[in-house]
Amino acid sequence: MTSSSQEPCCGVCTCGAKTDQKGQDRREFLAYTAGAMGVAGAAATLWPMINSMNPAADTLALSTTEVDVSGVKEGEALTVMWRGKPVFIRRRTGAEVEEAQKVDLTTLRDPQSDAERVKASSFNGQERPEWLVVVGVCTHLGCVPLGQKATDPHGEFNGWFCPCHGSQYDSSARIRKGPAPRNLDVPPYVFTDATHIRIG
């Protein structure tokens, strides 16, 4: 079946292709065109299937959450869901804010000033650094750090402590110690009035 007198018409096998050079060239051209179209067609068919796994339109539309924070007193915190993840809303005490502002940025793994992190909390042109809003997901491997309740461990830096692998966050939720690479993320949010936050 595969005698050496036969010329290969593709890389893998041999077949009985035996015609003049012109026919051979034309056939090769057609074969490559067909091959390229086949690959393109298959890819274009697979794409909607793969894309169907991306977030659906209704999921994307749900990406805002409104929170009433009028009940949160100084030194207290609130955890709300946003896109299926916890968001920490903390009304910090004056001491906590001061502590966060004092930190020497050069000592930080992910340098960011406290003012930068609470910029979005201002309302009517008035800065309100007591409101810290961060996504409560450890930037290491996704656990939810402890520290929202008074009885929780707060770590060495008076913030949050991740029980999974021991990452420690300060009172501005910046990473200070442990394996996490980044500060807790600040989600997009605005105060729609003095006591309502819209996240997302």
Binding site: M1, T2, P8, C9, C10, G11, V12, C13, T14, C15, G16, A17, K18, T19, G23, R26, R27, L30, A31, T33, A34, M37, G38, G41, A44, W47, P48, M49, N51, S52, M53, N54, A56, A57, D58, T59, A61, L62, T64, D68, G71
Partner: protein, 673 residues
């Protein structure tokens, strides 16, 4: 295979692998050099086509399963979620739903091809039996798949088919309860059907593997039915049949794509866009088209068979129908022993050929009858056709074996002339059968507005201004009674409203949210992500406010009614006529010749100037009806424009691809012809 038989490959990587695991040697042997009769006609493409369709079904099904919720509360909604919100979900669902039909088309042609050319005969009996098993598994899979969208046809189809088993004497009822996992088709049934619908295709794949393995032992049959005698009679499978199969597959995919993109609901029943309701059976239940012949056979058995001279029922008509229906398929398993004529191909059997054509016609008649209501003359015709089906296999084929004098066979494949006529005949008959769709009723057929619909046709798009006007009609008139619960306010962006307008429209409605920190529910203005607020809290409240009649949800109304937007338009403009046949109109009802039964609980909803259009269009009843019908068409299928646009690209690509493949195929085959 011993290593010494191996021919080394030039590519060192391939050779390295092949020396350790001879997959490439295997592929070359079975799909490369595999000697294949050189005289296949295009009917021999359908094995490959069926295989491709199986692949399409498994792939699309996998991704649909990721978004589907197999529970009676969520199944219908999750399918609509796929259609509306999942990226490309409408495409996956339409590919899958129509893919089932095209899979059956391919398999049925494949089966009839096997029957005509005697591909079931020695030594291919087992190959044939495996094929019949494949068809059986396919049918079970298709049946369970049709239940999953949990529409009215899903539910009642499932009820009817599972009840078939209750015909079995003594244990029947227990079997049916076991199938259901309860006392009716319900959540447990849906759950197990989903699990089995996911599993069976892989079983199918396994049996297909055996089918192909058996084929590679005996080699393919061919149109002459004469086994290849020398190398002159065969060509290597690759490239000759790889390229021919690819070409055939691509042509088939063009037809498939045309249906998926331009008539995706043409093969389905509108009733399946109505959520399952265990309390109401649709007036006319029909299975999917591919089951129609068997359904007709089931219904053809209408008498009880008594023990002679007693009133003891030996076989009830119910059991008889079920036995016949299953028998119609199982009989195929013994076909190799019913037809024992030594000549395989129908080309050389004049009488067989005639009766084969009759059988094909008979199956089409059965399909046609299956779609008709059980009334005369359809019952009698169906009985004759069902009788003939069995008569053909059980009497005619054995008789032909004995008495038919076949024409002389050619000495070899190379000497034979190919009969192209049979291909044409089969294609023609299948084309005819595709048009045998039934739709009959006692109501006035719906008509369309003078100006037609802008969304019609392969390139039709929605008229945004009309959609906005239609939405206004819905909001100011229809929405006092009818919900539109599959839509969210955010969808209105499609009508050309900007973000601020959508927000403002949403905020006009109040939704109940909560519980809040005090554990209480509270009201807030709706947001774009909220679903359209319903006029009534539940169905009971809706009935109470509407004279006992339930105003249907309008989200899918255009797809859920025969006639679609024409029906909506006709119904809305059909008030104000007086009964022509002296129908008595009941208290609180209104005459409308377009509504089944001619009386409708809905009072005439539209008046001239019911709304004031912002764009200055005169709000006549016709105008309002036309606008709202367009709006509801959009509401039923917001992705219609994307569908048609994608369709144009896909079809164009496939046509070009088929062209290239055809030229390639010809460039190889000129050497053989």
């Amino acid at each position: 295979m011993s290593a010494s038989e191996r021919t080394p490959f030039k590519n060192p990587v391939i050779d390295w692998i092949d020396r350790r695991l001879p997959v490439f040697t295997f592929l070359n042997k079975e799909y490369g050099a595999f000697p294949t009769p050189k005289n296949f006609n295009y009917l021999w493409n359908f094995g490959a086509i069926a295989m491709v369709m199986l692949g399409v079904m498994i792939l699309t099904g996998l991704f649909l399963a990721m978004n589907y919720a197999p529970s009676t509360d969520h199944a219908f909604g999750s399918v609509e979620h796929i259609m509306r919100d999942v990226n490309g979900g409408w495409l996956l669902r339409y590919m899958h739903a129509n893919g089932a039909s095209f899979f059956f088309i391919a398999v049925y042609i494949h089966v009839f091809r096997g029957m005509f050319y005697g591909s079931y005969k020695e030594p291919r009996e087992l190959l044939w039996i495996l094929g019949v098993l494949i068809m059986l598994i396919m049918m079970a899979t298709a049946f369970m798949g049709y239940v999953l969208p949990w529409g009215q046809m899903s539910f009642w189809g499932a009820t009817v088919i599972t009840n078939l088993f209750s015909a079995i004497p003594v244990v029947g009822p227990s079997i049916v309860e076991w199938l259901w996992g309860g006392f009716s088709v319900d959540n447990p049934t849906l759950n197990r059907f989903f699990a089995l619908h996911f599993l069976l295709p892989f079983v199918l794949l396994g049996v297909v593997g055996l089918h192909v393995a058996a084929l590679h032992v005996t080699g393919s049959n061919n149109p002459t039915g004469v086994e290849p005698k020398s190398k002159k009679d065969t060509v290597p499978f690759h490239p000759y049949y790889t390229v021919k199969d690819l070409f055939g597959v691509t042509v088939f995919l063009i037809i498939y794509a045309l249906v998926v993109f331009y008539a995706p609901n043409g093969l389905g029943e509108p009733d399946n866009y109505i959520p399952a309701n265990p309390l109401v059976t649709p007036p006319h239940i029909v299975p999917e088209w591919y089951f129609l012949p068997f359904y007709a056979i089931l219904r053809s058995f209408t008498i009880d068979i008594h023990l002679p001279f007693t009133s003891f029922v030996l076989i009830s008509s119910k059991l008889g129908g079920v036995l016949l229906m299953f028998g119609a398929i199982l009989m195929l398993l013994v076909l190799p022993w019913l037809d024992r004529s030594p000549v395989r191909s129908g080309c050389y059997r004049p009488w067989f050929r005639l009766f084969f054509a009759l059988l094909v016609v008979d199956c089409l008649v059965l399909g046609f009858i299956g779609a008709k209501p059980p009334e005369e003359p359809f019952v009698t015709v169906g009985q004759i056709a069902a009788f003939w089906y069995f008569f053909h296999f059980l009497v005619i084929l054995p008789l032909l074996t004995k008495f038919e004098k076949p024409r002389p066979l050619p000495a070899s494949i190379s000497d034979a002339v190919d009969a192209k006529k049979i291909v044409l005949l089969l294609a023609l008959l299948l084309g005819v059968s595709a048009t045998a769709q039934a739709s009959e009723s006692n109501v006035l057929p719906p008509h369309r507005p003078m100006a037609g619909w802008p969304q019609e046709g392969a390139f039709g798009t929605f008229d945004r201004a009309a959609l906005q006007r239609g939405f206004q009609v819905y909001k100011q008139v229809c929405s006092t009674c009818h919900s539109l619960k599959l839509l969210s306010y955010r969808n209105l962006a499609d009508l050309g409203f900007n973000e601020q307008e959508v927000k403002a429209i949403a905020a006009e409605s109040k939704v109940t949210d909560g519980p809040n920190d005090q554990g209480e529910m509270f009201e807030r203005p709706a947001r774009p992500s909220d679903a359209f607020v319903k006029p009534f809290a539940n169905d009971q409240a809706a009935r109470a406010a509407n004279n006992g009649a339930l105003p249907p949800d309008l989200s899918l109304i255009v797809k859920a009614r025969h006639g679609g937007e024409d029906y909506i338009y006709s119904l809305l403009t059909g008030f104000g006529l007086s009964p022509t046949h002296g129908e008595k109109i009941a208290e609180g009802m209104t005459f409308n010749p377009y509504f089944p039964g001619h009386q409708i609980a809905m009072p005439p909803p539209l008046q001239a100037d019911s709304v004031t259009y912002a764009d200055g269009t005169q709000a006549t009843i016709e105008q309002e009806a036309r606008d709202v019908a367009q709006f509801l068409t959009w509401a039923a299928e917001p992705k219609m424009e994307a569908r048609k646009q994608t369709g144009a690209r896909v079809v164009l690509f496939l046509v070009l691809f088929a062209g290239v493949l055809y030229l390639l195929k010809r460039s190889f085959w000129t050497r053989v012809h």
